[in-house]
Symmetry: C2
Subunit: 376 residues, 2 copies
């Protein structure tokens, strides 16, 4: 089966590497002008390739990138099976639609307001702070990605400046959640509605970029895992979703979870599954979109994904670490760019944490790894 | 680093799939006219591509196929780093040179004779049978592959017919070994002479084609594993070998091992390492040829590789088996053709054997799996 992928970055490359063994071949449609998948065939919209060329080559279409023009995606869906659906993409592209869906499904989120002016932003900020928020986060409704188009406000007086800085006509303003940690759950829904869940991962960001994801977690009770599974299951069913969905969550001091946002695709916080789970998120996404049985999602061993950002660092040194699995994307070095990641696997958690320390020392600019379950 | 590969079949494809995450890209040089790697770039000699085109594109060269013209390989070595060396290939291409090396390194083999005529073949057969062989196997010195160019003789009177059937000017005649099972060891030697060994696998053939490889084995003592490691280590060092080497062995009733033959490449009996070992044979071969540290070879769990021969069978059914990892090569169905394999992984051996049974029932023509350590 020939798989068409909208987007042509590293997620597409890793999908293709997982799909070859399933007998799949890949055609990418790039809308950015800087594709990096470098496997199978890539058609570039900015270089004059047409959507018709792309559609003529593929049996089923998926995407690895959510910042796609919705009309393009709807046009794809009119001609070929598309998973996840254009409707799922529409909801995930729009924070207002996303939050409404969370509300409708009784998935708890931080308090929020929608605002259309600097004055409304100041009012929302005041109101949420009166209700106890130490600060608020204002985000554009659309096209948020990796911390762009966001501002933190600690005083309603900052509204005017934040409004201008973000520069969008409609914002969502959320109470800043005083969370213990950020976690994510990845789930996969097949064409027949069958669903599998990966264990929760703990995620650490620096400067808006994911740095570490660790799974499975030693201090997540079965009930918290079930809470996360329940939330994502409702989302999957309500969207009649097919493929991998990622839900980012905040875990609060009392252990409960608040939904942050979702991504309708394989996700950086799921890269640990390539070496740490029976079936990777990439393979399961492909199994789902072509109607194959889903693979087991059990963790094999404690695993930590370490992102390689900006510079490659000491690659030989990284490969010398026991249980290290390198995943480079074939991109050139550039500040803040995701160049690859390292999956570290170990027989137990203390050994894993030593290996993560070892790796972080070999990666220039990597923050010191600190996980919430490790005594400081 | 751009890797050049001589040969462009499924082994090359799997090398490339392992090499992308190391940041490698691949160019294949095909001499057969029927390449199937279908990843990276393939230059076809029969379609007019030149060796110069190939060499201009690559940083280092390896091969995935040993039936290559030696002068071509020597020409490659004159222009680019080639691993394993042309000398290693020469020895592996010629049963006489191979057996001489085994003899020189005190690696035990079945009794054998070299013959240049039907009369000498009859004499050798008589002599070996007088020394106790129940039968002998005559093989051409060169280009033996998957049981082709071979004949079994149970009587010296069959010499004339066997000679004509094989149709080569020089044969090797070996005592038929009354072995308990066929096993293989795969080892990897880096550019600095560092060596790692995978656990022995038990191999089952039908009609000259590998069907099952299972590893690690529950009934191999540390001393037998060490015996195999000692043999292959001597071979690696004596050839100043870089990359993956496979040594096929017969295990006799007393537990000891006799060398059968070696292959200077990643090997079908090592495919289990893709899902059953910390680092696959493919990744370790690539680490070796580009001077990177070798990865751990430990088995993760009991694993069995099941070849998919001729027809694809019930692919959905295969994917429904727990712990099943499918590896299709993207080839069309044809009797006797290797179309893919399935790696089955399980937490314990009885569970693994159940899954192998389950898989074999879904694969038309697959022989019933029977392993030597299972009571019949």
């Amino acid at each position: 089966m020939r798989i068409g992928v909208l987007g042509a970055g590293q997620l597409g490359q890793m999908l293709a590497l997982s799909g070859y063994p399933l007998g799949n071949r890949f055609t990418f449609f790039d809308t950015t002008g800087s594709p990096s998948a470098d496997i199978g065939e890539t058609l570039c919209d900015p270089s004059g390739a047409t959507l018709q060329d792309f559609l003529a080559q593929v049996d089923v279409v998926t995407y690895e990138f959510e910042h796609l023009p919705l009309p393009l995606v709807q046009q794809v869906a009119a001609h070929k099976p598309l998973y996840p659906s254009a409707e799922a993409l529409r909801v995930c592209q729009n924070r207002e639609a996303e939050k409404s869906l969370f509300d409708a499904l009784n998935i708890p989120v931080a308090d929020y307001r929608l605002v259309d002016s600097a004055e409304q932003l100041a009012d929302a900020c005041r109101e949420l702070m009166q209700q106890g928020a130490a600060a608020v986060v204002a985000k554009s409704i659309t096209e948020g990605y990796d911390g762009k188009g966001q501002a933190v406000l600690r005083d309603p007086a900052e509204a005017q400046q934040a409004w201008q800085q973000i520069g969008h006509a409609r914002l969502i303003v959320e109470s800043f959640v005083n969370f213990v940690r950020e976690v994510s759950i990845i789930a996969v829904r097949g064409r027949e509605g069958d669903v599998v869940f990966y264990p929760l991962a703990e995620n650490h960001h620096a400067e808006g970029i994911l740095r570490y994801s660790l799974a499975p977690l030693p201090d997540v009770s079965a009930s918290v895992q079930q809470q996360a599974e329940g939330y994502i299951h409702r989302l999957l069913d309500s969207l009649n979703y097919v493929g991998v969905l990622t839900l980012e969550l905040f875990q609060q001091a009392d252990g409960t979870l608040l939904a942050n946002e979702m991504a309708p695709r394989v996700h950086n916080s799921g890269h640990w599954t390539q070496n740490g789970a029976v079936t990777s998120q990439f393979e399961n996404h492909l199994r789902a979109v072509q109607g194959l049985p889903l693979g087991a999602t059990d963790a094999i061993a404690p695993t930590c994904m370490v992102n390689i950002i900006g510079t490659l660092g000491d690659v030989k040194g990284l490969l010398e670490i026991e249980g290290a699995h390198l995943h480079l994307y074939g991109k050139s070095e550039r500040p803040g760019r995701k160049l690859g990641h390292l999956n570290l696997v170990a027989e137990d958690l203390p050994t894993l944490l030593e290996r993560v320390e070892q790796a972080s020392r070999l990666l220039p600019g990597a923050p010191a790894p600190q996980f919430s379950f490790v005594p400081s």
